[in-house]
Each structure stands twice: as structure tokens, then as C-alpha cells.
């Protein structure tokens, strides 16, 4: 069943179009991540769903009800903000109960819900403290609790972990995932952090310029990005791109860039199939084998220019077809700077994009 449905949604701030006729359908219990660079409209979209911004055109449905004109409190949503947005003058308990008191719930019901949320989030010992006396992670937990006590169907997260340090971020990430498994609510989560997106999401909507570029499972988005923007944005370290031409040689399709030639006969082209012309050849650094034998459809000997150890992995920089190229190897197998290594990859794992439109071929 559809939980949140966004239909032809547009939003303009004066002459600036922030969202352009956007459509989105979120299934019940789904964890959707809106991912994109700053200014792509992802937070704006979330605010529209929450009812904190009036839309310029289009409709929003939550649980089958048209809530386009409803106040935030009447939409059946709970929201968690990046800056926690806890009311500083109230205790944790006051923060949790504020919305319930506004809704005029009976006192025992309020107490019951706070007890449940506090138990789930393990913040019982903090209930009488003020937000100023909490750590960042505790504050964000309380902020999640504030959404939790509202007993709503849809949770909205607006970059909830961006203010935390790296270690806490990964801890809370897991907690949010556990929470989702436990509650099975619909969750819409805005982030610019692709690790968060890939780890948490059932589906990811990658946004740019107010338009959803690709809306699919993390795996598909990672392996088969629909255009060059998505390919470039997802993955760290980023995908290698080599600019060149698609050509037919001796009756077989090839990708050629200077002295770099790769056979693309086993590449899964889209419906239109192979066509000649300028294209970008993209391959992820981890899909490149270094000194791993000759089994690859493509292999070459290249000099190592720079080695970047990153702990478990090492990033190796070289040049291929006259363009910068990286590959990722485990640190034990890391070559030295100046060495010449044999690299190889399978074009099956690659992505080809039209140079002009940036679309996947």
C-alpha cells in the first residue's frame, strides 16, 4: 500500500524553481532516502511533505488522504531535524510531551507513550535533564523520541546525523536502522551522505536541481547509475571516467581513448543497443584488479603514480588513456609508487554514458 504519494509537486521561491513537477511514491513501511548535493531540493521536498512549506503546484497524499493543505500536526508525521531542535527551556520529558499536550491527550496516555519511547531509545535516565546537559548523540535520540511519541505513520528525518562526529554517526545510523526494523514505519530520510543512504535505504531517490534523477534500490543505483551525475555522485572514492569514442573494429564494438582500447561486446547496452560516437567510460575503482592474473577481458600495464593508504584499503593512482585513473586494492597487496602493475577489469561492470546528454547507454 502506498504510504506517501507526491504528485506533480512544484515549488517556486519567487522566480526560482526549487522543485519541478516532482513525482514520488513511497510504499508503507519503506525506508526512502532522498540523496543529493546541497541545494538540490531534497530538504525542501521533505519540508513540503511535512507541511512546513506551501507548495506552488501539485498534491501530497499521506495514507491515501490528500494533505496538501493540512497543517503539519494533522498530517500524521513526526520529524527529526539536523540541529535536534530541542526546546532548550524544557526538560527531556517536557520536550517529549509538548506535542501530546498540544493535542490534549489524557495525562496517563502521555505518560505511557513517553515511557515507551524512552525505553525504546534508552533515554530513561535523561528524562529530567535539560537539553543543554545532554551530549550530541543523546540530544538526537531525544529528538527521535519526540517523533516517536506522536505515534505516527510516517517519520521524516532531515539530515539527522550531520551534526554528529563520525563514530557517533555510524552508531546512530545502526540504531535508526534497528528502529525501522522494529517499528516498520514509513521513513523518509534526507542526507547528502551516500554511506548513510546506501546503508539505510530500501530505495534511494537521487536528486539534482529539483528533479529526481534516479529512484531505485541502493544496489541498482550503485551498479547501474542512469546518468553521469548519479554515477559520479555515488561511490567513494568516485568512479573513473575516461572520455573517448565508441567504435566498431573488426566487426566488434570497442571503446577507444588514445592508446586505451577496451572491448565492450559484453556490455549490457540499453534498449537502443550499441551506437558509434563520443562516450564516457566509467568504472569503479574496486572493479579494477591489480596484479590479479590475465583472466580479464581488458588488461594493461600501467605505472603507479600515487599511493593513498586508507586503512583497510589503498587507493592507487595511475593514468589510462592519458587520463587520471584510480583503483582500489587491499592494503596487503598495495604496490609502491613508481612500480609498474598489471591492471584488468571486465566491461560488464562498467557504465557507458553519452558524452553530450550524460545518459547511460
Amino acid at each position: 500500500m502506498t504510504s506517501v504519494l507526491v504528485r506533480d509537486l512544484s515549488l517556486n521561491f519567487g522566480a526560482v524553481e526549487v522543485l519541478k513537477s516532482l513525482n514520488l511514491e513511497v510504499a508503507e513501511g519503506e525506508f526512502l532516502v532522498l540523496l543529493g548535493p546541497s541545494g538540490c531540493g531534497k530538504s525542501t521536498l521533505l519540508n513540503c511533505i511535512a507541511g512546513l512549506l506551501d507548495v506552488s503546484a501539485g498534491q501530497i497524499f499521506i495514507n491515501g488522504k490528500n494533505v496538501t493543505w493540512n497543517e503539519p500536526k494533522d498530517r500524521g508525521i513526526g520529524m527529526v531535524f539536523q540541529s535536534y531542535a530541542l526546546y532548550p527551556q524544557m526538560t527531556v520529558e517536557g520536550n517529549l510531551s509538548f506535542g501530546l499536550k498540544n493535542a490534549r491527550l489524557p495525562r496517563d496516555e502521555i505518560a505511557r507513550r513517553i515511557a515507551r519511547a524512552a525505553e525504546i531509545l534508552q533515554i530513561e535516565p535523561l528524562l529530567q535533564r535539560k537539553p543543554a546537559a545532554l551530549s550530541g548523540g543523546q540530544r538526537q535520540r531525544v529528538a527521535i523520541g519526540r517523533a516517536l511519541v506522536r505515534d505516527v505513520d510516517v517519520f521524516l528525518f532531515d539530515e539527522p546525523l550531520s551534526n554528529l562526529d563520525a563514530k557517533l554517526r555510524s552508531e546512530l545510523r545502526i540504531e535508526i536502522k534497528r528502529l525501522h526494523q522494529k517499528l516498520a514505519n514509513t521513513m523518509i530520510y534526507v542526507t547528502h551522505d551516500q554511506i548513510e543512504a546506501l546503508t539505510l535505504a530500501d530505495r534511494i531517490a537521487v536528486m539534482k536541481g529539483g528533479i529526481i534523477q534516479q529512484f531505485d534500490s541502493p544496489k541498482t543505483i550503485y551498479n547501474r547509475p542512469v546518468n553521469r551525475f548519479v554515477a559520479d555522485f555515488i561511490g567513494s572514492p568516485g568512479m573513473n571516467f575516461i572520455e573517448g569514442e565508441l567504435e566498431t573494429r573488426d566487426g566488434a564494438p570497442w571503446f577507444v581513448a588514445g592508446d586505451f582500447r577496451a572491448p565492450v561486446s559484453n556490455y549490457p547496452f540499453d534498449g537502443k543497443g550499441f551506437r558509434q560516437g563520443p562516450a564516457s567510460f566509467g568504472i569503479r575503482p574496486e572493479h579494477v584488479g591489480v596484479n590479479t592474473g590475465d583472466g580479464w577481458p581488458f588488461s594493461a600495464r600501467v605505472p603507479v603514480e600515487v599511493v593513498e593508504p586508507m586503512g583497510s584499503d589503498t587507493l592507487v593512482w595511475t593514468r589510462l588513456g592519458g587520463q587520471s585513473f584510480t583503483m582500489r586494492v587491499t592494503s596487503e597487496r598495495s604496490p609502491r609508487t613508481g612500480e609498474t602493475v598489471t591492471i584488468g577489469f571486465d566491461p560488464l561492470n562498467a557504465s557507458l554514458f553519452d558524452t553530450e546528454t550524460g545518459e547511460r547507454l
Binding site: L52, S83, Y84, A85, F98, G99, N102
Partner: protein, 311 residues
């Protein structure tokens, strides 16, 4: 020297004569040139500002024969509080001879309602402008600010007519209305900027929690805004208490505020000029703003700084 240091770990570091290597906090000399210039300037400036106050206090404690000797800076030989008593309760202003006390109570009755009403309205204005972004809000704000730049002289007579038509000309109510209106631009600006500097997400969170316009104002915004209320209060109290122009134009002798009465005492052309009474009267009039500053100076600075972050 590094090996010497490691060798002496665990015991007090010996400061050997001749080894003037830098170690630990840098020594601060109290009488450095920088300090002398800095504190010297501060002392001179404060003396410059305190001198008039000193002369006023000293003169107000002297008897008239002593003043006539002309030693302005000399401390009083014989301290007398009679000028203070006279200034407060028996000095004559026009027809009334009950001193400044009448003006003081008039000023109190003008200041308190004006301050409360103007701050209440300005804070709601600022809150609505900062958070609710209603249609025409910016136009409204621009008009309000432009209004602050129109010279008072232009508006004096039209306001006289308006107050007369309303039937409150010459009353305290009329003056309170005038003060409330004229306090609006600066205080609205102050509150708008302060509320804009509070995190917007707090406001959003409160909306999701189902609080309305007044709910958010009273439950979320007000408890966070003490500093700006203090700033606004100080500006209004001193501004309204020290006001002379509106007081003299819009009230009658019975309802004159303290400043107007002070002027009438000091500038009276009849009889002997009683400098000691004049000084005492002036200090009495200035006492209220002074006390306010002393009590709330710290909050004042904090509030000004908080509002200044975002414009």
C-alpha cells in the same frame, strides 16, 4: 636540552640561572608599555566622564553660601541634604510647589504602561515578521522602518489633532499612545532580528508538534528571549523617561513628566538660582535610567550581541 628535561621528569624543573630558555606560560609584566597606555587611557576617559557627575553630587550637598565661594571642585565643608528634600517635595514649578515628586509619579505612570504595551506589541510584530513570513510582511516592515526616519517635528502637529479628536489630548493616556507608537520601529527591528537568529528548526519542530501562533510565541519563543526583552526594556525605559519633547507638547502642567518639571525648576527666571537644588533635581531625574543600567548591564550586552548575529 631535551635530554636534560626527560631526565628530570618527576621532580620540579630546576630553573638554572643563565638558562633563560622559554618554558611554560609566558611571563606577563604588569607595567609593560602596552598596559600603561591601555589603562592610562581608560582612567583618563573615565575621569573625564565622571567629573560632571562628581561636581553635581558635591554641589547638591553644599549650602548656597558655600556655593557662592566658587570652589566648584571642593568637597562640601558642611554636608546638607536640604536641597534634595527641597527638589523632591517643595521646589516650585509654575503654580505647583510640591517639587519633583509630582513629575516623578507622572513619569512612572507614563513609562510603565508605555514600556509594557510597546514591548508586547513589538515582540509579537517581530515574531510574526521573523517566523510567519506572511504576505506583504516585507512591505509592512519597510514602511515601519522608513517611518522611523521621518523627523518628529513633521508629526507633532498632526498628532496633536489626532489626540484631540480622540479626546485624549493633554492626558497621560495620549502620551502613552504616542510613546507606544514611536517605540514601534526600533523595537520591532530588534525583536525581528533576535527571533531570526533563533534556529528556524525550533519553530518548525513546534509546528510539527501542533503548537499554533500563540502557543509557539508563549511556550517556545518567550522563554528563550529574556536578553532581548531586557534590551528592549532598557531602550524604552530610558527613552521614555528621558523624553522631553513629547512630554511638553502632549501634556498639561498637572500631567507634566519629570523631565519637563526639571526644566521648569532649573530654567525658572524668578528668584535666586539655587544651584544645589538644581543639581539634586537633575540627579533625581537621571536616577531611574542609571539604576536600570546598573541592574541589567550584563544582560543588555548579551542581548545586543545576540541580535547582532543575523540581520
Amino acid at each position: 636540552m631535551a635530554d636534560v628535561r626527560t631526565a628530570s621528569v618527576g621532580q620540579v624543573e630546576p630553573r638554572i640561572a643563565g638558562h633563560d630558555e622559554a618554558w611554560g606560560p609566558r611571563p606577563r609584566r604588569i607595567f609593560s608599555r602596552r598596559n600603561i597606555v591601555l589603562y592610562g587611557a581608560l582612567v583618563i576617559v573615565s575621569l573625564y566622564y565622571l567629573m560632571p557627575l562628581y561636581v553635581m553630587i558635591v554641589t547638591s550637598l553644599k549650602t548656597m553660601p558655600e556655593i557662592r565661594l566658587g570652589n566648584v571642585f571642593a568637597p562640601p565643608v558642611e554636608i546638607t541634604f536640604e536641597p534634595w528634600v527641597k527638589a523632591w517635595s517643595t521646589a516650585c514649578t509654575g503654580l505647583n510647589c510640591d517639587g519633583l515628586s509630582r513629575g516623578f509619579w507622572n513619569s512612572v505612570r507614563i513609562t510603565i504602561p508605555s514600556v509594557i504595551i510597546s514591548i508586547a506589541i513589538a515582540s509579537v510584530n517581530g515574531y510574526a515578521l521573523a517566523n510567519w513570513r506572511f504576505k506583504g510582511g516585507n512591505t509592512f516592515f519597510t514602511i515601519l522602518i522608513v517611518g522611523a526616519f521621518i523627523p518628529y517635528q513633521v508629526m507633532i502637529y498632526p498628532i496633536v489633532i489626532i489626540l484631540r479628536e480622540m479626546g485624549v489630548y493633554g492626558t497621560l493616556t495620549g502620551l502613552i499612545i504616542v510613546h507606544t507608537i514611536f517605540g514601534m520601529p526600533i523595537n520591532t527591528l530588534l525583536f525581528r532580528n533576535y527571533f531570526s537568529s533563533l534556529p528556524e528548526e525550533l519553530f518548525k519542530a513546534a509546528r510539527v508538534d501542533g503548537a499554533g501562533f500563540w502557543g509557539i510565541y508563549f511556550r517556545i519563543m518567550l522563554p528563550m528571549s529574556l536578553p532581548i526583552f531586557v534590551v528592549s526594556m532598557i531602550i524604552q525605559v530610558t527613552g521614555i523617561w528621558n523624553d522631553f519633547l513629547f512630554g511638553v507638547v502632549y501634556t498639561k502642567p498637572d500631567t507634566y513628566p519629570m523631565t519637563v518639571q526639571l526644566n521648569n525648576i532649573v530654567n525658572s527666571v524668578q528668584g535666586v538660582k539655587e544651584y544645589n537644588v538644581n543639581m539634586a533635581a537633575t540627579i533625581l531625574t537621571g536616577l531611574v535610567p542609571l539604576v536600570i543600567y546598573f541592574i541589567s548591564g550584563k544582560l543588555f550586552v548579551r542581548g545586543i550581541a545576540a541580535g547582532a548575529v543575523k540581520g
